[in-house]
Amino acid sequence: MKTTGLAFVDYAIIAVYFLFVLGVGWLVRRSVHTSKDFFEAGRRTPAWVAGLAFVSANLGAQEVIGMGASGAKYGIATAHFYWVGAIPAMVFVALFMMPFYYGSRARSVPEYLRLRFDEKTRAFNAGSFAVMTVFSSGVSMYAMGKLFNLLLGWDMDASMLAAAAVVLAYTTLGGLTSAIYNEVLQFCLIVAGLLPLVFLGLRDVGGWNGLTAKLAHAATAQGYPAGAYTQAWRHLGDPSQNPVGVEWLGLVMGLGFVLSFGYWCTDFLVVQRAMAADSTTAARRTPLIAAVPKMLFPALVILPGMIAFALSASGGALIPPKLTAALQPLLDAHGRQVLDYDLATPSMLLHYFPNGMLGLGLTALLASFMSGMAGNVTAFNTVWTYDIYQSYIRRGASDAHYLWVGRVATVGGVLLSIGAAYVARSFNNIMDVLQLVFAFVNAPLFATFALGMFWRRTTGHGAFVGLVSGTVAAAIHHGLTLPAGAVPGVKGGYFGVIHVFPSELAQTFWTAIAAFTTCALVTTLVTLVTRPRPDAELRGLVYSLTPRAGSTDSQLTWYHRPAVLAAFVLGATLVLNVIFW
């Protein structure tokens, strides 16, 4: 891999970026007087700002680096994570779920669960979510430190701690408002840092046609059809005919329905941004505005990985090999070198960007890490303060006290994240574990929400037992299956192997389907034998007992109406799927 030293201008760009994000925190702190200001951004954020923050909080380092890696490994099929695995769920949460989240005046997703079901369901969700955010933030921090160490030889501890200190400073000062402002700024910087990379890479490989030709050669060399890396749907009839190793049903049900809806509709990290909007209509428009850049992101984050792989496959050796513990290149069963796909996008930066632009590209990576971390930390401090501290440790304290607790929780969240980063350091495949934890937690949670919002008979006992059963079902499914080539252990098979999936993704999708189905069935059965709450207690919390949010939409300009935006987003996504069919 090419190594490049940084020049003064690169350090200057990074320093200017740090100065601006800290400056935003400093300016915003003047408007933070109450806990509502700190945790909910005062519920006065315009829809377009909340929309960009919504998408940016999800655009962490794992997204930028991970999607580049998947682009190199699976090709354009990675775009399914956006066009199938994000856009439909974002439209659903906007049109059908935001009216409940926003209209119920719940301050967090776990608090909505308490209002709709009961205390134990809220406690289960608050606890699992708090642990997930800390681990997610820590793993992201570790990934960033490792990346900068590999690329530039920077000290891993120093780069992790410096970036964490900046995030801590601006989130403690300005809370959610500061995080949202910086997420919008970071979003713009990530686009500015990656866009020229896509342009230079495409120009180098001869445009889309040149890339298709190069990847066709790589695909046939590996026994796939020529279009396996550049056609998103055509080869999904048979898992052995595409590099992802899944068939269309597993993809649509596992990713497009369960995992996607589980994440976008119930994860407080993203929902919190929409709940900070200045009205119900703005909250409904937030995910729809976010969906517009989201559907175009494959060009920004997946294409660099595909270009890196195409150049490597045609002899360019752009992506370095993965190394063993003895620092020797890792070989697969056929004796071929296994590439370190995580370095696909960073290698592209080093390959194409001279000093100056390199500083901008590295700042974009830093920004993606920091926006993801700030998203996790602000969601953690809210859930900790409202759903754990205020509910179980100290009720009835003054607002100033909870504001203080929120700031302390921010410091605690960052310190725990640093601890989690050091835990991640001692495990080879903590990323896989984390992905799996998401499948265990989010997939059954979506069944709980779907039943709770759209079937008013659903009871608290049903929801709680269903959630626990769904999580246990995920563990059983995972414990009885393995991805091809893996050994029993953290990748599954710890109860015995009754089925082998072609890839880890296929195994994760079907684990999520098992968790969702079990949760839905058990919740339904337990609900039928337990006493439902009276309708009067459920007004504003379930679909059939809530006035339609769209009834006032006719007073809005046509292009501000959520239904029109949703139709545009779905139509444009359909067109993208057809183009890359």
Partner: protein
């Protein structure tokens, strides 16, 4: 909101744009491909930053006028 979010983004883009432009045109020189790349992209970022700043300042002035009960430009037309 405490301030228009376009203003800090504008400031950052102008600052980074000027750094790239100055480094590309001044230090590396326009005859080199790296100098050209830094200059062109620095220019693009600078223009974007200035445009964003213009709209940010305009919106900020209008909201301040509305808050203080003064007529805005659109009221005077």
């Amino acid at each position: 909101m405490p301030l228009d979010v376009r203003l800090p983004i504008s400031g950052l883009f102008v600052a980074v744009g000027l750094l790239l432009l100055g480094y590309g045109a001044g230090v590396e020189g326009l005859g080199t491909s790296s100098g050209e790349l830094n200059t062109i992209w620095g220019g693009v970022m600078l223009i974007f930053g200035v445009m964003l700043g213009y709209y940010g300042v305009r919106t900020e002035r209008r909201s301040r006028a509305i808050a203080e009960g003064r007529p805005t430009n659109s009221d005077l037309k």
